[in-house]
């Protein structure tokens, strides 16, 4: 009996060992959920499906990772119990530590439609009583259970898109946050959940992450299989992709679903061909054949609300950095010769949207030539997020000697967790520039004030004229106007009239003179006759008056002198003009003087009257000869 017991024990151990081996091999693909290495005591309940048809048999497992006693199953009042409890135990050694688990399985079926809860079971481990989780089962109206329906030859792959049960195989996309700031990091995970024998993936279509900058998490070539409990059902979960997203714009952004084709190995029906039974590709477990079936699954779409960064306190030169950063700025030398280059290196390192950070806006002294910065990125992603550094390298070339200062600046970033802007101050750099080698290409140090032409910035017509505008009647021109014509007609007429009148005047005038001239000696003679009478009467006074008037009238008429302007001088002047001899003129003057004198003098002094008479007659004759 005792011996028997030992054999029994040994047999058990051998079975256990083989089982253990089988588990080790099947681990990556198989039911990895059985062996979570944990020292905590865990008592869990799970079902192989939680959506069943009425009458469909499903498995209910209670697993404990320690040895326990007094197991109390829940009541199965809503279910029909077909078999159980069937106990199985397993052992696992990982990194030298052993864990074991005991599973109690029931096979049950729902009696009617509806949603039922399998209440928790309890077990006592040591002094503790553990409660398992409750499981909700949804029983639907009869119908066939979801089974793979293809019956093709073993080893071939079948496209069977969309026919796998959504309970047995589905994809899920999840994000760490659905409401973020622009530039804030989101973790996105694409997972495939399965309860089938998943062998691999084909043709995975990931979303394009439009509107985001995505940094993928580096992944091993082999997919890792984990176990996850979804609504009490254990699934093998494969994380296909994990990425970090940084929104580049604000608003509502949708991430489209991921599509993946899964290769699932399924047990096909019994073989009919005896040869294949013997020479099938699977000689060890050769009684069943397998086939690979392709299932296409599609994950859910994700909506993300991206909030713009707060405007309050936003620095003017905000470079778009969101995360948590530090800054380091260095220059490679602070003492150079003119025209030599200096490197200013600004390194931003930390966690966040490094790729989206703009170069800081720097103000350099005018005398220093600068170029656009060279940018280097060293960005990597690990489980905790995207981190790395970004370096901006400025090449500065001072052109003239002197001491220059690059003023301190701030690197600003937004801390999404604290929801505030953070400014990282830099230090100030001072550069001493010595005189460099004279370089013909360098600009002259002595600046001359160059005169600049006044540049026309725009060209436009000149403005309208607004001052006094004289409006003329159109078609009225001076030329050809009556005034114009009369301007040419009237003056010549006036001129001609003037000429005519003048000629008339001259002609008339010249007639009178001629008459007078002609009559001059005749008049003079008449008066001389009068004087002769007076002489005979001894009337001395009248005699002289007659002589004088005879002489005056004669010269007046002869010379054409008006009585008004008559004077001795005028007479002398006119006689000289007429070329009368000096002698005659003198005689005339003398006679006139004598006569004037004698006219008022006493009679005794009057002299010889006859002599005066003859002298007057003589002078008149002489003038008459000349003029």
């Amino acid at each position: 009996m005792k011996k028997n017991n030992i054999y029994k024990l040994m047999f058990r151990k051998v079975i256990l060992f083989y089982f253990f081996l089988a588990v080790l091999f099947s681990l990556p693909l198989g039911k990895g959920w059985g062996w979570t290495s944990s020292y905590a005591q865990k008592f869990t309940a799970s079902v192989n499906k939680n959506k069943v048809a009425v009458g469909e048999v499903f498995q209910l497992d209670f697993t404990i990772n320690a040895s326990g006693k007094s197991f109390t199953p829940p009541s199965f009042s809503d279910f029909t119990l077909y078999s159980g409890p069937n106990q199985s135990s397993s052992m696992q050694i990982i990194n030298g530590s052993m864990s074991q688990s005991i599973t109690l399985s029931y096979y049950v079926a729902a009696k009617k439609e509806g949603t039922f809860t399998i209440n928790s079971a309890s077990i006592t481990v040591g002094n503790n009583t553990l409660q398992s989780n409750a499981i909700t089962i949804e029983a639907v109206k009869g119908g066939n259970t979801q089974q793979a329906q293809t019956q093709s030859q073993g080893g071939t792959q079948d496209k069977n898109s969309g026919k796998a049960s959504s309970e047995n195989l589905f994809a899920k996309t999840s994000v760490s946050k659905s409401k973020v700031y622009a530039g804030e990091q989101i973790v996105i995970t694409h997972k495939v959940y399965t309860r089938m024998n998943l062998k691999g993936f084909q043709d995975v279509k990931f979303p394009s992450y439009n509107g985001f900058w995505a940094q993928e998490l580096g992944r091993n070539t082999q997919y890792e299989v984990n176990t996850e409990n979804v609504d009490g059902v254990s699934y093998n979960v494969v994380e296909i992709k994990k990425a970090f997203l940084f929104a580049q714009r604000s608003g509502k952004i949708q991430i489209e679903p991921m599509e993946v084709e899964c290769v699932v190995r399924e047990k096909s029906g019994k073989r009919k061909d005896p040869f294949e039974q013997f020479f099938g590709h699977d000689p060890f477990f050769g009684f069943d054949s397998y086939k690979d079936v392709l299932y296409s699954v599609k994950s859910n779409a994700i909506n993300i609300e991206v909030v713009p960064l707060p405007e309050a306190n936003k620095p003017a030169d905000f470079p778009g950095a969101v995360g948590n950063f530090s800054m380091n700025a260095t220059i490679d030398k602070d003492k150079v010769k003119a025209n030599e280059g200096i490197n200013l290196k600004i390194t931003i390192s930390g966690k966040g949207n490094l790729k989206l950070i703009d170069a800081p806006k720097m103000t350099f002294p005018d005398e220093i030539e600068t170029y656009d910065p060279k940018t280097n990125e060293n960005i990597s992603a690990n489980q905790s997020g995207v981190s790395g550094s970004k370096t901006f390298e400025y090449l500065l070339i001072p052109r003239h000697e002197g001491v220059y200062t690059i003023p301190a600046w701030n690197f600003n970033y937004f801390d999404a967790e604290k929801k505030m802007y953070v400014a990282l101050p830099s230090k100030e750099f001072t550069i001493t520039v010595e005189k460099g080698e004279s370089n013909s290409t360098s600009s002259p140090v002595i600046s001359s004030v160059a005169k600049e032409d006044v540049k026309m910035i725009g060209s436009d017509i000149r403005y309208i004229k607004t001052g006094n505008i004289n409006l003329d009647k159109r078609g009225e021109y001076f030329f050809n106007s009556p005034i114009f014509i009369s301007g040419f007609a009237v003056p010549p007429l006036l001129f001609l009239a003037f000429l005519f009148l003048r000629r008339e005047h001259i002609r008339r005038n010249s007639d009178i003179v001629l008459v007078k001239k002609r009559n001059a000696s005749r008049v003079a003679k008449k008066q001389l006759v009068q004087a002769e009478k007076s002489m005979k009467n001894s009337d001395k006074e009248n005699f002289f008056i007659n002589i004088l008037s005879a002489l005056y009238n004669y010269t007046e008429h002869k010379m054409n002198i008006s009585t008004a302007e008559h004077s001795k001088e005028k007479v002398i002047y006119e006689l000289k003009e007429k070329n009368v001899s000096e002698e005659t003129i003198n005689e005339l003057v003398k006679l006139l003087d004598e006569c004037e004198f004698a006219r008022y003098a006493p009679a005794s002094q009057s002299g010889n009257l006859e002599e005066v008479y003859s002298r007057a007659e003589n002078i008149i004759t002489k003038i008459e000869d000349v003029v």
Partner: protein, 250 residues
């Protein structure tokens, strides 16, 4: 209701009945300064349609049309202004700018030295000033002719003769210049193309062969008119007939 009509009357009709040309000038320049070029151009057109003209009005109207992007009318009015006031620098400037917007490149025919000299002389004064000058010179000529005739002394006669001759020559030159300018103004011997493009044909008929095409704003010499057609000339080679409706005489 009656009040409404009373109030609306001055606003509505405005320049319609208070249309003294001076008021129109004021309102036109106000409209122009406010950027209402359409209204300004309408007012200037009214002034011209009332029978008034002045280089300034044509200039301002040209400006308004320029601002309205009506280059053809703009060039026409600048040319009219230039005709009345050939020396005005502003007119030349704006005409040059307007001509930059025209399509056709027209090289002005080279002028002889004498011709240029004559044009310069003409442009110094208006025909009125030249006419007055010619009359004054003629009067002075007559005066010195009188001196020459009436003087008895030799020196006075010589003085009168030469000065008289000088003023006679002056008078003749001034008269000629005045007449020439008068002819320039009154003779419609140049025109501006107003339609966006005008076909120049070899005969005054629709059936004539198409010789060349001119575009809005091109200035041409008009030689003769034959019914609906005007003979125009660009250079001695480019002569043809164009529809009267597509041009406007300056």
């Amino acid at each position: 209701m009656a009040l409404c009509i009373l109030f609306s009357l001055p606003l509505g009709k405005g320049w319609g009945w208070a249309a003294t040309p001076t008021d129109l000038l004021d309102s036109a320049s106000t409209a122009y300064s406010k950027g209402n070029f359409q209204k300004a151009s309408e007012h200037y057109e009214v002034i011209i349609s009332l029978g008034y003209e002045s280089p300034e009005v044509y200039f301002n109207l040209g400006n308004a049309y320029y601002k309205l992007d009506n280059i053809g009318m703009s060039v026409l009015n600048y040319e009219r202004a230039k005709k009345l006031s050939p020396q005005d620098e502003d007119i030349h400037f704006n005409l040059k700018l307007a001509n930059q917007h025209t399509i056709d490149k027209i090289e002005p025919a080279p002028k002889l030295f004498l011709e240029e000299w004559w044009d310069t002389l003409k442009s110094i004064h208006s025909e009125k000033i030249w006419g007055l000058r010619s009359i004054v010179c003629f009067m002075l000529f007559l005066f010195f002719l009188g001196v020459f005739i009436t003087s008895n002394r030799l020196i006075n006669k010589q003085f009168g003769f030469w000065l008289g001759l000088l003023f006679f020559v002056f008078s003749i030159i001034s008269f000629s210049v005045s007449k020439s300018r008068y002819n320039d103004i009154t003779n419609k011997n140049s025109a501006v193309i107003l339609s966006s493009s005008a076909e120049i044909k070899n005969s005054p008929a629709d059936t004539g062969t198409k010789l060349f095409i001119l575009h809005e704003g091109a200035k041409v010499s008009a030689r003769e008119t034959n019914g609906e057609w005007v003979k125009v000339e660009l250079t001695s080679e480019k002569v043809g007939w164009v529809k009267r409706s597509s041009i406007e005489f300056i």
